[in-house]
């Protein structure tokens, strides 16, 4: 996490410095916004390596400066030139001279798409797809991400027990109170001890599932990755429930414990991040090396194609088989004919497969949450739900977020499908 944070921080600094350069050319904030949008489009949308994105934006900035300098020399009277220079020096917001960057270079999205197409066409490896996180990063992220989740739980408990909960129950963690742990969350600020660690476990399981999925996807196949994550979720769910039954006594705690644990997780995340060094990543030199043998080339291309997330298992196998067959007929080795593994794997245009998989994941999540919410609502309507509606409320919040994500994923899939057929 430290290395990734350092790299992300460096990337942020580079992009910030770059957008500032754009702003300084003629003192216009709109130019900095254009550069920031272009950088975001390259790195987030098209998975372009940050260094490459910064380099191409720097080159564009040089062109931009030249255009402005030429325009200044050509037809601007001395008063305007003075104002232009003064504006650029003081960073006078809102001063504009000449056409906007949209008019000069096009919309940032279209500009970024043009660069990506050029790199793919020329076989330049400019891309860096998401890689599986290390266990260290998963743990630290889970610890830090749990803190706000616990705060949300605490706020909801406060809201639901506003009339009956005392401030001491809300702010002071009392000793564990023995009781029947099967009791649902009551409206007076008390909840079962066995549910205390549930939010952290859920956040940790989500991070673990993501990294396991990416590892299995990269090294084996998408199908096995999905099955593995499914099995992991079931095992973790059952195992977690059994462990909590076995380890924790049937007792209740008050709402303040949520606030306490939020602080504990946040502090733990900070401490663990400092003590647990980021493991050195296994070298991936062969992926960019022009000296690999054919067997390594095939293995690396397969991994990189699957890692993209938008190439199916069958398509990845077919691409590798065709490369071998072509190479055998042409008499050249694979590197000579196709380039390095990274160059070749990143040359293929983006397909709609990733968007389709994300949409399928969102739909499955919404269906599962709908089932759970439906059962909870039935229990409430049927008078079988005794106690606070805080867990239902939290679930409702996640349900709304999941539905919004699903709608967005459908929109992105439709856009990706149109783009793929262009």
């Amino acid at each position: 996490m430290m290395m990734k944070s350092a790299m992300t921080a460096m990337a942020d600094v580079s992009v910030d410095a770059l957008t500032e350069e754009y702003r300084r050319v003629r003192g216009d904030d709109a130019d900095a916004v254009w550069a920031a949008e272009a950088a975001c489009e390259l790195c987030e949308r098209w998975h372009v390596d940050v260094d490459r994105a910064c380099r191409v934006l720097e080159e564009q900035c040089t062109t931009f400066r030249a255009i402005i300098a030429d325009a200044d020399l050509e037809d601007i009277d001395s008063e305007d030139v003075y104002e232009a220079k003064a504006g650029a020096k003081t960073g006078n917001a809102g001063f504009r001279h000449g056409a906007s960057l949209n008019e000069m270079f096009g919309d940032p999205k279209a500009w970024a798409f043009g660069r990506v197409e050029e790199w793919r066409e020329e076989g330049i490896d400019a891309f860096a797809y998401e890689r599986p996180e290390s266990m260290r990063n998963v743990t630290v992220t889970a610890l830090k991400a749990s803190a706000p989740v616990y705060v949300v739980f605490w706020l909801l408990m406060l809201a639901s027990g506003w009339s009956s909960m005392t401030w001491s129950l809300a702010l002071v963690p009392f000793p564990v109170m023995s009781g029947d742990s099967s009791t649902l969350w009551s409206g007076d600020g008390l909840f079962p001890l066995r549910d205390l660690f549930m939010p952290f476990v859920i956040v940790l399981m989500i991070g673990l599932a993501r990294t396991v999925y990416r590892r299995v996807l990269r090294n084996i196949s998408h199908m096995l990755a999905v099955v593995t994550v499914g099995v992991l979720a079931v095992v973790a769910g059952l195992g977690g429930a059994m462990l909590s039954e076995w380890l924790l006594p049937p007792a209740r705690v008050n709402a303040a414990w949520m606030l306490l644990l939020a602080a504990v997780w946040a502090l733990s995340g900070w401490v663990v991040a400092r003590l647990w060094r980021e493991p050195s990543r296994r070298s991936r030199l062969s992926e960019s090396s022009p000296f690999v043998d054919d067997a390594t080339w095939i293995r690396d291309v397969g991994r990189l194609l699957r890692e993209r997330g938008d190439i199916t298992d069958g398509a990845a196998r077919r691409i590798c088989d065709e490369a071998e067959a072509f190479s055998a007929r042409s008499g050249s080795d694979l590197v000579a004919e196709f380039g390095t593994p990274a160059e070749y794997a990143h040359r293929f245009r983006e397909t709609s497969v990733r968007a389709r998989r994300e949409m399928a994941g969102c739909v499955a999540t919404v269906m599962l949450l709908t089932l759970i919410m439906g059962l909870a609502l039935l229990a409430i309507v049927g008078g079988q739900w005794h106690g606070s509606l805080v867990p239902v409320g939290v679930q409702g919040v996640f349900y709304v977020m999941a539905v919004v994500a699903m709608i967005d994923s459908v929109r992105r899939y439709r856009h990706a499908a149109i783009l793929a057929k262009r």
């Binding site: 076989g123 077919r318 072509f326 008499g331 050249s332 080795d333 196709f338 380039g339 293929f348 793929a420």
Partner: protein, 183 residues
């Protein structure tokens, strides 16, 4: 390891070749299905130079995703199976459309010097040449009749004989040179 065959350079600037590559692939597939290496040799025969696999297959994949071509596994007699690519109906429509567009563009570029009007009636007839056809390989829309017939024959042979691609390409060169020398 078998040595790489002598690769013929493209007859035209690389930017032109890159711009026209997709149309050229559709031209190669127009008369019938071809495997990947067959497409590469056919492109070489058309004057595009033999593209490396790293350039060719991403374009084939792109055309496949756009439903312009499809692929299938073909078991050949006496040889290893191979994947062949075939033009779809969508692909044929796209080829016709692009031929018209190329014809119009070429007419604009050369029309003033050679007296051909831009967008003349010739562009309504698929395959009719709009440029001087003594250039080896002609243009994408046709070329001389002899060149066109030779190209068709070459493509037929490459499709039918799994291992004759090199000999077929050499014969293409001989045919075209003979055609030019005969004038």
């Amino acid at each position: 390891m078998v040595r790489e065959h002598d690769r013929q350079e493209a007859k035209w600037p690389v930017l032109w070749v890159r711009a026209a590559m997709r149309t050229a692939i559709l031209v190669c597939l127009e008369a019938g299905p071809l495997h990947g290496y067959g497409i590469a040799l056919a492109l070489e025969g058309l004057g595009f130079g033999r593209p490396k696999g790293g350039s060719l297959y991403p374009i084939l994949e792109e055309l496949k995703n756009a439903d312009v071509i499809n692929d299938e596994w073909e078991q050949s007699e006496g040889g290893p199976g191979r994947r062949v690519y075939r033009l779809t109906e969508t692909g044929r429509a796209r080829l016709e459309r692009e031929r018209r567009q190329w014809n119009m563009m070429v007419g604009v570029l050369v029309g003033a010097s050679s007296g051909h009007a831009a967008g003349s009636s010739d562009d309504a007839v698929p395959g009719r040449a709009m440029v001087d056809d003594t250039t080896v390989g002609g243009d994408l829309a046709g070329g001389s009749e002899v060149v066109t017939h030779a190209a068709d024959a070459i493509l037929q042979e490459v499709r039918s004989a799994p291992n004759s691609g090199r000999q077929v390409a050499d014969r293409w060169k001989r045919n075209v040179h003979a055609d030019r020398d005969g004038r």
